[in-house]
């Protein structure tokens, strides 16, 4: 278990727009962003407890992949190169003999489309990074470490390497746990046993608390919430994330005229 040395936690939890913020119209445009070892380390350490929860899913994924007929090596390659939990679970659920390649790849793309919006939300900070830093870091972006990174960046740390560091933690735990799932399938096949299924929700709740900014947040959040709930009723997969995000963005543009 990680010790609680608390890098970003020392910041004030609320009302903390970045220090250099009020220059332009938006409240999150830092003048400079670092990209260094300290940022990588901070991201990694902060993400370890979250990555433990991710590992619960990695084991569940490994079990499913084994049942679908993938070897441990194939599972390792998939987890190491795709690194997107929900889409990998859906992929192996679609796995059959022969493998429906087009269906699998399309499903993966559709489930992961939400990452485009998440990546776009990083722009105020990532526009200060080089292409290599940006596109290298984005490979390691998953839901959980995106949430931790947004939390860290909006608190004014300006640590551009936080996404990479936290993503490396996710990567290590995800790859190892999915292979463990293949090897010891069925030992912990249900992450809910230890509450590990709740880690994603808990991470996002903590981020919501951080991002809440009073009345100005209320309308876009309400739009996102209602849209996402309705979409989730109608469509499977992760479309509700895209629908909610886009609807709130459109509503905000309309509201500002």
């Amino acid at each position: 278990m990680p010790t609680t040395d608390t890098p970003p936690e020392t910041k004030q939890p609320t009302d903390s727009t970045p220090d250099e913020a009020e220059v332009s119209t938006d409240n999150a445009t830092p003048d400079s962003v670092t990209f260094d070892r300290a940022g990588i380390r901070a991201g990694f350490v902060t993400c370890v407890p979250v990555a433990l929860g991710v590992a619960g899913y990695g084991i569940a994924f490994g079990v499913l992949a084994d049942q679908a007929g993938l070897s441990a090596a194939e599972v390792a390659v998939m987890s190491a190169t795709v690194l997107a939990g929900a889409s990998q679970i859906i992929a192996v659920e679609l796995w059959a003999d022969p493998i429906p390649a087009a269906t699998v790849v399309l499903a993966v793309f559709a489930v992961n489309l939400r990452y485009s919006l998440m990546g776009a939300a990083l722009r105020p900070w990532f526009k200060h990074l080089s292409a290599t830093q940006t596109y290298g870091s984005l490979f390691f972006m998953a839901d959980e470490n995106w949430a931790l990174t947004m939390r860290d960046l909006t608190s004014g740390s300006n640590r551009g390497a936080f996404l990479l560091g936290s993503g490396l933690a996710i990567w290590v735990f995800w790859v190892v746990s999915s292979v463990v799932g293949v090897a010891f399938g069925g030992v912990i096949d249900d992450p809910a046993t230890f509450g590990l299924d709740f880690v994603l929700v808990a991470t996002f709740v903590a981020l919501a608390v951080e991002l809440w900014d009073g009345a100005s947040t209320a309308i876009p959040w309400a739009v996102a919430l209602v849209t996402a709930l309705i979409t989730a009723e109608v469509l499977t997969g992760q479309w509700h994330v895209i629908a909610g995000g886009v609807a709130a963005a459109v509503a905000e543009v309309v509201r500002r005229g």
Partner: protein, 116 residues
């Protein structure tokens, strides 16, 4: 081999180091598709200029995505998840400590699932 629908489990005795070229090719396509989604949004913003409108839209995006992920997740849960979610929010609000919030939340959800 039996019907793949009924028993897809032909791996049990298979070589754990086996790398089927077809499987690897499909995994590679999955990896490319995923990487395109992860990079596509930000890449697009560097190509098309960012107007004030886009800036306004981007500003609400983080919170909107968080709410859009959370809403259906919590709706799919029940009282244990809702109460544990409140615990996480309270701890995060009071302490600003993500680790503490996570540990308390996971502990709370396990406890509430037993009790409720």
């Amino acid at each position: 081999m039996a019907s793949p629908l009924l028993s897809p489990r032909w791996s049990g005795v298979a070589d754990p180091f086996a790398l089927d070229p077809t499987v690897v090719a499909i995994i590679a396509a999955m990896a490319v598709a995923t990487y395109l989604t992860k990079t596509g949004g930000l890449w697009l913003l560097t190509r098309v200029g960012v107007s004030d409108r886009v800036e306004a839209a981007l500003e609400v995006l983080p919170g909107a995505i968080v709410v859009a992920v959370l809403g259906p997740e919590l709706a799919a849960g029940g009282p244990p998840e809702w109460l544990a979610g409140s615990v996480v929010a309270a701890v995060a609000w009071r302490t600003g400590n993500i680790f503490l919030a996570l540990v308390t939340g996971v502990g709370a959800v396990v406890a509430f699932r037993v009790v409720l």
